[in-house]
């Protein structure tokens, strides 16, 4: 894959979270044209299973396609793989849309609830649950403290504003 594309920090991190470090090595040797999994194995020096696993993950993410050919003599199938670089923009923008919706959902939850937490246990309760426990931690009986989440709300709004929201 074109090194320039992988130089984008988000693209690089996206692939790293998808296919891991070994997968990135596979990606770096994949050309724009078709290539077989055996040839990739030779180029990258990893075992065939790791290479195939990477190719299938990329295929499932619609970033790779294949064509197979049957040998007339042996009947063996050969898979020719090709990367779909053009799809990358759509795939990453799908992730951006997904994250936007997740942050909106999180913002709505933070904005419409009041939270209480225990200073000894990393637990957080909404008002109703805290009231049910008599504003005492169910683990240690210590009083629950009111938690000011205004900074979190501002942070989410700030993040969403990068997309022109707020």
């Amino acid at each position: 894959m074109d090194r320039e594309v992988l130089e984008n920090p988000v693209v690089y991190k996206y692939f790293k979270s998808l296919i891991g470090d070994d997968g990135l090595k596979v990606l770096e040797v994949i050309p724009d044209s078709e290539i077989t999994d055996e040839r990739i194995t030779e180029l990258v020096g990893l075992d065939l299973n790791t290479v195939r696993r990477t190719l299938y993950i990329l295929y499932e993410s619609r970033l790779m396609k294949y064509r197979r050919e049957k040998s007339e003599n042996s009947g063996w199938l050969t898979y020719y793989w090709q990367i779909k670089v053009d799809e990358l923009d759509r795939v990453i923008n799908d992730e951006i849309e997904k994250l936007k919706k997740i942050l909106e959902q999180k913002l709505e939850f933070e904005d419409s609830n009041v939270f209480y937490s225990c200073k000894y246990h990393s637990v957080r309760f909404v008002f109703d649950d805290a009231a049910q426990f008599g504003f005492k931690c169910p683990y240690c009986e210590e009083s629950l403290d009111y938690e000011d989440n205004s900074l979190v709300i501002d942070a989410i709004k700030r993040k969403l504003s990068e997309l022109g929201s707020f």
């Binding site: 988000v10 979270s17 992730e95 994250l99 936007k100 008002f127 997309l163």
Partner: protein
């Protein structure tokens, strides 16, 4: 719910009304949260409020007006609740470098996440947002 607790408190002072500052002090929440909840109640037509100045401090006095003699919510006072409408813009045009997926150098944990998505309670998401604080 907190909204009900505050509404009950306001309703208990039906004639005199109650100061907004007294509400958050009594319940033990911060003034900002109290203001948000009272605004929601006002938008639903359940309470009305007027400015009141005590010394140098300005606060609201709030009255419960939610129900008329028949126990029905007064429809004429109900206004549509405040809603934050997010502008629909073309994401790709605004994020050529895709940096929305990053805080500092850390990729959003939601990217390629296969776990059941519960943004409200997801610890990984909360930790990622905390990078902004």
């Amino acid at each position: 719910m907190l909204e009900n607790t505050i509404l009950e408190l306001i309703a208990s002072e039906e004639k005199e009304g109650i100061r907004q500052s007294d509400i958050w002090k009594q319940i033990g929440i911060d003034s900002r949260t109290c203001s948000r909840v009272v605004t929601r109640l006002e938008n639903k037509g359940l309470v009305i409020r007027e400015w009141e100045t005590i010394g140098n401090t300005r606060t609201y006095r709030i009255w419960y007006v939610g129900k008329d003699g028949n126990g029905e919510v007064k429809v004429e006072q109900i206004e549509p609740p405040e809603k934050v409408e997010l502008e629909e813009k073309s994401v790709s045009k605004l994020t050529d470098d895709y940096s929305f997926l990053l805080i500092e150098d850390t990729l959003a944990p939601c990217v390629n996440c296969n776990e059941m998505c519960e943004p409200e309670t997801c610890i990984k998401l909360a930790e990622w947002i905390n990078l902004l604080l």
